[in-house]
Amino acid sequence: MQFDRITVEVRPRSPWEALDLGIMMAREWWWPLLKAWLAVSLPVFIVLHLVLWNSPVIAITLMWWLKPLWERAILHILSRALFGELPSLKETLRAFPSLARRQWLASLTLRRLSLTRSMDLPVLQLEGLASKARSLRLRTLHKSSSNAAFWLTTVAMHVEMALYFAVLMLVYLFLPVGVDIDWFQVLSSEENALVVGQNFLVYLAMSLIAPFYIACGFALYLNRRTVLEAWDIELAFRRLRSQVDQPRGGRRTGSRAALSIFWVTILLAGFAPHSPALAEEPPVREVLTASSAQLTIEKITAQEAFHQQQTTSIPKWLDELNLDDDEEKPSKLLSPWMRDAVLFLARASELILWLVVLALILIFAHRYRDWLREHLPGAGARRENSASEAVPSVLFGLPVGHDSLPDDVIGQVQSGWRDGEHRAALGLLYRATLTHLMESHAVRFPPSSTEGECVALVTRNTCHEVSDFFSGLTSQWVQLAYGHRIPPEARVEALCSQWQHLFVEKNREP
């Protein structure tokens, strides 16, 4: 056995963990195992079914019965792959006849129904033991692992069946609604083609399980031997031996001085246990001061493990263009005038980009000037000043301001109302009111405000009388303007006289 080339971590495991390792082994070498299994068993499956076309049940039973023979091909591959020499399919096939011949009769008769088959196979096939020696060996191996081997066979058997039904179930699940199949009839049918199809499914399930089954059994066997023969210790000792040998290996290449030092070391080492002087010498304690500790810390943190090094690669031409150190490293790639052009381009782009940033800031400031005016500090002061600002001539699309109003507002409103031009009349009254509110009461309506917001603004900024009037007028105006509901004439008269009172007579008083 080439122990140093073993491809599996050797350590004593519980039988259950050994089974897990078997799963990993079957996974690792899955395709070679499956190929070998198919290569030796699929031809037989086909031949058996052709010969026994009329009794397929016997054919599949024979396939099942011959399983121990097919399994030997799998174990052959596993036992080689374990030590790093995965055999090719051709090699396996060449070895198969002699593998199959070994104790074939016993395997197919007496031991066929043994529930620890997977674990016993290596004893037969790899150790080549027979009769008495074999049973003695098995007794040793079985002592703690036969339980797991038994459960392995039991579970594998059930999973094989479950796989078969799972495939049928999968087909069933994918059938469209409305397709009705009498499953009982299908499964119990006597028709040969159907039975052969089922046999193939059974064979497929067998093929999927077999590599795992044999690998798990092999792993159980390996684990038992690992425990019994301390394989892990042997491996560790071999490593240790080469470690012990290492100083001796250095002797040839070393100088004379090294040689003598080596012998002195060996001599000292040999005498050490017997030499009281050496044994009783108290160990030298290093005195640790803050500064020496600091030094040690720095030395340790300077080691490679505490640094992260990163290698970044950039294209060569890009490196040539590196603008930071172009003074020191004249470019080899570009001629001077090209370099100047590139530099000019770079500078120009930089300037353009800055201009774009500036323009964006300006556009932003302009776009949101109103919002900025309201929210920037000092906005309150500006709002105070707004009284002195010019009164706009258009508000919400309505012309306002004294220029747009006739001298005798009320007269025109009343005559307009009488002529039936209700909208124009009430509109004039509304505009005149807005104008007066802006001029004599210094109310500023933002261009975006609705009628309701205007009322709220007026309520906040003027006296009770004015705001009452304005809210009354607004509700009439809104009803007329949007709802096309003409207010009663008396109401309009009242508004007119109120207006007269509030805006004309009051203005004259002072």
């Binding site: 491809t7 599996v8 971590e9 350590r11 004593p12 495991r13 519980s14 259950w16 963990e17 089974l19 897990d20 390792l21 799963i23 990993m24 082994m25 996974r27 690792e28 797991a148 459960w151 392995l152 579970v155 999973v159 479950a162 796989l163 039904f165 799972a166 049928l168 179930m169 999968l170 699940l173 795992f212 798990c216 425990v227 019994l228 023969e229 301390a230 892990d232 210790i233 042997e234 560790a236 000792f237 071999r238 490593r239 240790l240 031996r241 470690q243 012990v244 040998d245 100083p247 001796r248 070391t265 080492a269 040999g270 050490a272 246990p273 044994a279």
Partner: protein, 232 residues
């Protein structure tokens, strides 16, 4: 190296190894749990059927709760160990090694609905075999692992004989690394489970360390091991 270990590195740089449990012990543990649930339902059912339709209603509700929340209950309140898992010395943990919590447990158990497709948990089995850490789909979704609780190797070493300690002590001839020292201690602990021939065979490998053959080689290896343990 092919192995079934799962290593986690903590922020402190400590490696913790978990050993995920493969399909076989898990199938068996599940079967134990299943039989246990059925037994409980059967016993309760015997009494509840006397109550007629009401009793059957209660059984149905119990069946539903047991089917879906039996594993959740044990995983959350019993440290990830259902009765079946306890029998095999295995438990459920988060894949960072911490005890499994409500959300992970609920997810991994509700996803049994997917794992049991198309028949008898075949989807879960395929997922376990393909994953490499033996996680079924529910485990992958919930971020959980099923691991062994105890180390088989530890139990082996505790068999260690006291005879070895009577052999006397000897100082290690040359400096050895930790693995080497551990191998020597391992040999001392387990040498009684090996045949005398095998002991001598193993000791012969290290004759360049002990300088002795046969029985004396074994004895001096034991002495060195005792020296490592601190005996005088």
């Amino acid at each position: 190296m092919l192995d079934t270990r799962y290593a986690i590195e903590t922020p402190e740089g400590i490696d913790i190894t978990l050993r995920p449990v493969g399909p076989l012990p898990r199938i068996l543990a599940y079967t134990v749990d299943l039989l246990l649930r059925w037994a409980v339902l059967l016993v309760l059912g015997l009494f509840l059927t006397y109550l007629g339709a009401f009793g059957i209603g209660i059984i149905s509700i119990l069946y539903f709760l047991m089917e879906w929340f039996y594993p959740v209950f044990f995983e959350v309140y019993r440290g990830g160990v259902t009765p079946g898992k306890k029998g095999f010395g295995i438990r459920v943990v988060h894949d960072d090694g911490t005890p499994v919590g409500w959300s992970a447990s609920l997810i991994r158990n509700l996803l049994r609905a997917v794992d049991l497709l198309p028949f008898a948990y075949i989807a879960g089995l395929v997922s376990m075999v393909l994953d490499g850490n033996f996680r079924r789909l529910g485990d992958l979704a919930a971020g959980t692992l099923v691991v062994y609780q105890h180390d088989a190797a530890l139990r082996l070493e505790s068999v260690a004989g006291s005879a070895a300690e009577k052999a006397g002590a000897r100082v290690l001839p040359i400096a050895l690394d930790r693995d080497g020292q551990r191998a020597l201690l391992n040999f001392a602990d387990r040498h009684e489970t090996l045949s005398p021939q095998r002991q001598e065979e193993l000791a012969a490998i290290l004759d360049n360390l002990t300088g002795e053959q046969g029985k004396h080689g074994v004895a001096s290896l034991l002495k060195i091991a005792n020296g490592l343990k601190g005996a005088q």
